[in-house]
Assembly symmetry: C2
Homo-oligomer: 312 residues x 2
């Protein structure tokens, strides 16, 4: 089977489109960005671990995060929902309640979509963001000398999922981070509404390392990060002493924001950020470099992995 990255390459070649590459397409003539996400039962979620309410909430939040990470203001969503026959009314009521909960503190609303039958649940959400008054980001816009900043804790969602899957003693914050993540609209908007320079921005839907790698690869830079500056909930270390760094780097679904911005821009953010590293000239093939204070760190295996390889 081809990996998602390879499939996207096939599509990109087939379409020869300037738009494909970021999570959102920036349609300049209409002053909008647009994103789409598919969620398939038993591939992306399971009815065993998620209620329809949580599913609606998370599916919506994922799309809000995509739009926010582009720099735009989330405005409209359409939801394509395909469902097995059965207790549809309750599913739909709960699902849309979750969607509305996710939209509560935004100016975005659901304006349409499609509903059909299916033998398993399939959800596709399309989100539209307004770009007026915002500078739109791109993965390919990181510049040597910029600071790498991030909006908050990494690894919490993956830790919460592991706690649920392994039936460990529950931790409210970690489980909530997994089931009810919060898109960083304010953090992203504070950057895109004030910055003049080109900048890179992404969410960490596929993990912190993945976001760093994709920005570095597309911008042809090295992303140098100090592990000690990355924020995480220290309970992760208590639960998963052997693997907590893997969770922080590769966990995914935290929907934090990673951005690369000039150091002079930082005062405009009123200390609402964490600097985790620097954008450097690319040396040899290293795209992401993770530095540890203690170089004899027992997680050197991951450290090596991070230096040169894209994780499987």
């Amino acid at each position: 089977m081809m990996k998602e990255n390879e499939l996207i390459n096939v599509i990109t070649q087939s379409l020869n489109s300037e738009y494909i590459g970021d999570d959102c397409a920036y349609l300049k003539d209409l002053n909008i960005v647009v994103s789409q996400d598919n969620l398939v039962e038993n591939v992306h979620f399971s009815k065993e671990t998620m209620t329809p309410y949580q599913l609606g909430y998370k599916a919506t939040m994922v799309n809000l995060s995509d739009i926010a990470a582009s720099g735009a203001i989330p405005k409209y969503l359409t939801i394509g929902l395909s469902l097995p026959v059965g207790d549809n009314k309750n599913f739909i009521d709960d699902f849309y309640s979750g969607c509305k909960e996710a939209l509560k503190t935004t100016e975005a609303e659901i304006v349409g979509g499609d509903i059909t039958g299916s033998d398993r649940i399939f959800i596709s959400i399309c989100a539209i963001g307004k770009t007026e008054g915002r500078k739109i980001s791109s993965r390919s816009n990181a510049k040597v000398g910029q600071k790498i900043i991030t909006s908050g804790f990494h690894g919490s969602s993956a830790a919460g999922l592991k706690i649920l899957q392994e039936n460990l003693e529950p931790d409210t914050n970690l489980i909530k981070a997994h089931l009810m993540p919060i898109a960083q609209l304010e953090f992203a908007g504070n950057i895109s509404s004030q910055i003049d320079e080109e900048y890179a921005m992404m969410d960490t839907s596929d993990g912190l390392f993945d976001a760093l790698f994709k920005i570095g690869e597309r911008s042809n830079c090295k992303m140098a990060v100090d592990f000690e500056r990355i924020m995480y909930d220290h309970k992760i270390q208590q639960y998963f002493e052997q693997t907590y760094k893997d969770l922080i780097f590769f966990g995914g679904e935290d929907y934090q924001i990673i951005a690369t911005v000039p150091v002079e821009f930082l005062p405009k953010l009123n200390n609402q950020y964490t600097i985790i590293g620097d954008v450097l000239e690319k040396t040899e093939d290293t795209i992401v470099e993770i530095n540890f204070e203690d170089s004899s760190d027992k997680f050197s295996e991951m450290s090596t992995k991070c230096f040169n390889h894209f994780p499987d």
Copy 2:
């Protein structure tokens, strides 16, 4: 199981949104319309009767037709594709070739989407249309006194499908009408770019009768149609003598356009239309009235059905 109409009512109540009702949502502040369609393997299509190329073509055309029927100009599409593991590269190449074929004579392009795994094929296409210079239609805009006009042949797609399903002697035009329908962008654009009055417009994706019924119901009018004025390929009658009127009224997937416009507007259309009836005051509960020249017509059963009932 609830019907699609009932499910849409649940969603409409849950969302309390002004946007839901037409195939497209009209987002006035952004000068766009947006539509979304889900297509599920073995519900909406089968690999047995459709190639990936035909599937890409038709899925794209369905969305172009939705946008055209709103009156807008189709501009951008995003495609969410979920696929089983296997020969994905060939599927994707063929599918996107079909999409591009459908877009060939338009100014629309594919700008993004999503690709994921799945145990069956699931496609969700989101289309965005530009409303600048166009008057946008609504199902609820039919006015008493307007003429009901349509863009072409009805029933061909359903006849083509029946020919394929029943292994009858092939007819190129009818089979093509089913596999490779053509959205009526020019017909719809000629109306929306020139009309000043409010008007109703829909495509016949769910059949001619369904479009007439939905416009009449939402506009609180009676849609009175003369059967003899409806255009159809007379080969349908040769193939399906007993049921050809059913195919014409209930067949679906012809993607013709139905519109209600003032009689004074018609000269602007340069005879590129067929008048099939009139929008009348609603009398009793009749929403669609089909009149036959020969009232002793042997299809009186359908005639009765059309007078008062919404078909199952």
